[in-house]
Symmetry: C2
Amino acid sequence: MSVTIKDVARMANVSVASVSRALNGHGGVTAETQKRIREVATRLRYVPHNAARSLITRRTQTIGALLPDLHGSFFSELIRGIDLAARARGLYLLVSSSHGDATEAAIALRAMQGRVDGLLVMSPHADEAFLDENLPIVLPTVLINSHVRSERHASLDVDDFGGARAMTEHLLGLGRKRIVFIAGPEVNHDVQERIRGYRDALSTAGFGGRAAVLHGDFTEESGYHAGKQALAMVPRPDAIFAANDMMAIGCLSALAEAKVRTPEDIAVVGFDDIPMARYVSPPLTTVRIRIAELGEAALERLAAMIEAPDDAAPEPHVVSTEIVVRASCGGSDTVRRRA
Amino acid sequence: MSVTIKDVARMANVSVASVSRALNGHGGVTAETQKRIREVATRLRYVPHNAARSLITRRTQTIGALLPDLHGSFFSELIRGIDLAARARGLYLLVSSSHGDATEAAIALRAMQGRVDGLLVMSPHADEAFLDENLPIVLPTVLINSHVRSERHASLDVDDFGGARAMTEHLLGLGRKRIVFIAGPEVNHDVQERIRGYRDALSTAGFGGRAAVLHGDFTEESGYHAGKQALAMVPRPDAIFAANDMMAIGCLSALAEAKVRTPEDIAVVGFDDIPMARYVSPPLTTVRIRIAELGEAALERLAAMIEAPDDAAPEPHVVSTEIVVRASCGGSDTVRRRA
DNA sequence: GCGCGGAACGTAAACGTTTTCATGGGAGCT
DNA sequence: AGCTCCCATGAAAACGTTTACGTTCCGCGC
């Protein structure tokens, strides 16, 4: 730790400036001396002191990620994607997750200043006002799935609309005519988009009048209840599209309990492709969100902003989804990707 | 960003030294001037430049986490625990995960030097030689579940042994007499410990001779095959203890296929408590690893090492497990915690 | 032979803090 | 009144880099 650039300079009989130039490949050094300096540096196990470097270069080579209090695989996949892309670019990743309320998030956000070259923000608290309050204007920032449209920050969203539309089209293509949608919490923006996709596919097919939306809250239990409701409908639907997998699974229980066959009588599909979806009976057809890709794209975007801060922000990027066809919809067993 | 301590000093009519003292609460400043300085600082939105600070204090307030290429909830729970504890101590978290091979891990490890005050390492590549090669001696390090016993680093492990023993005792307590264990890959240290716990409970109960271990590879499929094997055994076992939940689930399929009732004829239990365990039929009794607690404990330990580097390393800490009793073992539905 | 340009390298300033040391002044004591 | 001592404050050094600016030296063209 305590071996500095001066030690290297002394051992190599050059000035610190030459060491810096040689190690950073800035030229102005003979190939020969460069080689000598490099050798001395590795022999001494010299590692540049990052703080000193950032102090003068004003770069930390680090990006910060502000994430919500998230359990489960969404979180890990997202970080995976971010981390992968970051490493590829030689960037470090400073994470701060699991902040319960807006105040905590604000503190975390503030504390990151000066530690990072850019910020990835995905937080339920991150509305426009919050960001204005807590973000310095100069810090490049990418908003992930926050549905905030701001001139000042780039954003990146999941294609909930396209995924839901594609899934609805898939069901229609299989000959299903009465498709019921089970929604989640009203305030949830993703849910809104999914409903919109569902309705859009229906009206495009000329079935606009048949749209029927039941309400749930993302839990298995609410899916179970919605399933019961669907069974009671007249005419009975021939397909149920739940806004997430957990509700779809609850729905499956309701159908099984009523001795209704899936998919023969009623097809059931979900959204998210949680790991469990593959193991329920029948295996659940669902819409997969390519979460790692989301993280990766977010980081790429951020890196671009850091390198060329003045570029006009490109149109908001949308991350693709894909339909995973399993047994529960009565189609063939494949994965279909949407661009 | 560009407002420095000098700006604050000028505005408050004091020297930079006083500002530093006031803001860090080092004393030697009148309550009155301190108040004034604080006010100016917040008004100017002054945020200290961390690089400059670390340069002189030789502290980064950051700890690094080197993690394997992990999917799923284990990863996210672990980070959750670490992050929670870190925030509570005002520490930042620099993560580097998803490095495929030892070389990548080594690079990541090296690059963290000078960026962090301490290191949390959980990596399949992190054996003794690797660490000696790539870690500076001075950097406080905590090894998570790596089963490396080193004088130089602290370590923290999951109590696989205790968990397996407790589960076996639980089955014995329910009157099961012929318990078969399905192991995982031989090389896996966790598996070894789980087998040891299983055997230990058996011999303590005087059933040492009845230990029977089948082999799997952690996949659902291998659990299915092991289940078939178990069914073919004479006399037939009355309980199956799988080394992880996925194999237990495969096992359940094998039993269902053979029209063997669970838990009436054969009890089935697993290890890990993956989210799916609750949803299979019957719901799976299993051993839960308190992963977040693992991360939390690791960070606490590391923080202690950083604050008092010369303290003798306490005995290797072991993180508790708990038995989650669901329907598949025929016991009552509770969670029992082990110390 | 002399000046000139450019390459290689060195010197020193600058980055923004913390901290040591010096300085001044006021209070308390004799 | 004068001395001492302490406390608030300021000046300046130090941390380890990068980089602008000089300096030296060599080769080349006149």
